[in-house]
Amino acid sequence: MGLKIKITKKLPHFEVDVAFTCDDGKVLALVGPSGAGKTTIIRMIAGLERPDGGTISYNGEVWFDSEKGILLPPQERSLGFVFQDYTLFPHLSVFKNVAFAAQSKEEVIRLLKLFDIWHLKDRKQHEISGGERQRCAICQALARRPRILLLDEPFSALDANTRRNMRDELKNLRKQVSIPIIHVTHDIDEALFLADDVLPMVNGKIVRKWMLQFMLKERTGMGTHDDDYKYGFTKYHGFDRSVLYDSMEIEKWRM
Amino acid sequence: MKMKIVSHVNVFFVSSIAIMMIFSSFLSSAWAGDTLIVAVAANFILPSQELVTMFQKKTGVAVEATYTSTGKLYGQIVKGAPYDLFLAADEKRPGLLYEKKLSDKPFIYAEGRLVLWTAKQELCGASDWKKVAAGDKVRKIAIANTLTAPYGTVAMQVLKEAGLWELCERKFVFPQTVAQAFQYASTEAADLGFCAYSSALSEDGRKGCFYTIPEAPPIMQAACVLANTGNRKAAEEFARFLLSPEARKVKERYGYR
């Protein structure tokens, strides 16, 4: 079981139209250039934005159904969300931030120690580094024992070194929790490294795998540039607009 | 070329308007020199308005009046306020001015009476003013400021002498002038008001009822021409007019003797 979603939403420049599932214990990456609608999708999963149509359900529990008029508020979905610039509450210390939605004090202590920020527990968010804030935000999200974890470009604001460290940590995290994790990123390497399934997206739609394959073949060198995407995709107009979901077999593409 | 002409026209307009404004302000201050400015105690508003109109018609001299409590006016005059005449509600303050050589010899221009007035019909049938004031149904009694309004001073005096001052202390409300005391009573914000007899005789006053206060002395109201008047001739003429028979008729109509 896991998260099952099929939603549409009209945005200023295009329409988001996606369908996919993410099972317990799996990591799903939504990859694409900025503005592709990825953030909108996870915000809709979180209940922070309302889709125009479709359904969202988790383990059979319906969170959103446009026909039946069901819309469960974010409070009741019991998920974790790490925002793009890991918004922590500035008026609370690290400890209190993590404890915000925690079930018990022991849980907070355990998480802080696990992510190696225990020594920062009394500091405020402006007194710690970006990577430390990121870890704090993840702890805050996990403290709630969420049923799903949503990460919105969690590492984009970090320097290269920290980013590499955080990726490793996230990989380790997977071993600790067996909940669906949906990871939004524009970095294809990161997606390939961390995820079981990768969904490339352009203009609100999931694009067929063969387009991604083409793009990967054409890439030269390391690093990721949004232009690569745009370059790759503009060469092929009229990509499939149906909401078929093709998942990629990562092994074939790992270098 | 067009722009230059427009801006020239603008400059002409603005400067001519400016000149006219400056000119007219000189004019009006020239006028002000001839206008009599009279400081009048609040209780005397209504008769004073009539008297001023009569005087203006008779002599062609413009008169402007300021109305507020005697004490306030006294304070202003002592500080040099530019009044020509002072019509007080007591004898004390004009007397003080005369002592300080700030005025001519004062003269009595009216004799007023203090009454207890109410707009509420249910308070009207009692035997005397003391019974009404002390009654349970009365929650607020308006008394003009006892320090600066002579009618208020007298009201406090009679209340103290009747032994009612402490008894009714919680009920008192203190507007600044005796005219406001009447206003509070007539809007029923206060149940009773210690007012001037002339208020009781006014149009609004006749909608309610009043009690005479025999214990209260008649209020001798004195007036004087002020020493620093810029208009002595007109001021003295107004002072004479105040005591004339026609003025007396007006005063009597408002309950003054």
């Binding site: 925002f83 008026h91 | 929650r139």
Partner: protein, 221 residues
């Protein structure tokens, strides 16, 4: 030397400040986070006391709070005593008079809060009401402090409205500003001067207290 007017002024200022802060916080919340029809009319209405001359405001309040006015009658029905010429009456008048000064700084402070903090709070399971108290208010304390200070100072100095609606009753509505005025009118300059001299440091001390109370809670925002 009668200190009662000073005591009354301080009491009025404190009571008005507390009531106004409690009243304007939810209103500021409504104005910042919701869009509804007639919102601009409501905002203009709330700002009206700021542009009306105090005597005009006092006049209308006197009519409305008087025994024949809608509010006066309502109050009387509930408490069997009049609203005008009472301490409760001048508190009410102060609240109306100072409303714009309370709500504006709070609105500004609320607007400055990152919406994602609120979203984070919702996702973490807090209701909008709990979010208001646990996230919005602590992060808007600067605005709350500014509101409190403005209202306190404004109320201490209030004169025209209180004069019209209060009736200058010693021990109940004769606040310091009125007592000073009446002392001057009665040419009692010495008493007036003493009251002024006491009023200034008292106001200053209160400002320091409000400032200190909220500064200790301000974060590196």
């Amino acid at each position: 030397m009668d200190l009662m007017p000073l005591y009354l002024s301080i009491k009025l200022a404190i009571v008005s400040t507390i009531i106004l802060i409690v009243l304007s916080a939810p209103l500021a919340y409504l104005l910042v986070y919701f869009r509804f029809r007639g919102k601009s009319f409501l905002e203009a209405l709330l700002n009206l006391p700021m542009v009306l001359p105090p005597t005009v405001l006092g006049f209308y309040l006197l009519v409305v709070m008087g025994p024949k006015g809608a509010l006066g009658r309502l109050w009387e029905a509930i408490t069997a005593s009049p609203l005008v010429f009472t301490f409760a009456g001048i508190v009410f008048a102060s609240i109306v008079y100072s409303f714009p000064f309370a709500i504006q700084p709070m609105k500004t402070a609320f607007e400055k809060i990152d919406r994602r903090l609120l979203e984070s709070s919702y996702v973490l399971g807090l209701s909008p009401l709990a979010t208001f108290f646990k996230v919005i208010v602590p992060n808007a304390l600067g605005g709350v402090a500014a509101s409190a200070i403005l209202v306190f100072v404004h109320t201490m100095g209030e004169f025209g409205v209180i004069l019209m609606v209060g009736g200058s009753i010693p021990g109940e509505t004769r606040v310091a500003s009125i007592a000073i005025y009446e002392a001057v009118e009665a040419l009692n300059y010495r008493e007036a001067g003493i009251m002024c001299l006491i009023l200034v440091p008292i106001s200053y001390v209160f400002l320091l207290i409000i400032n200190r109370l909220t500064r200790s809670n301000l974060y590196g925002s």
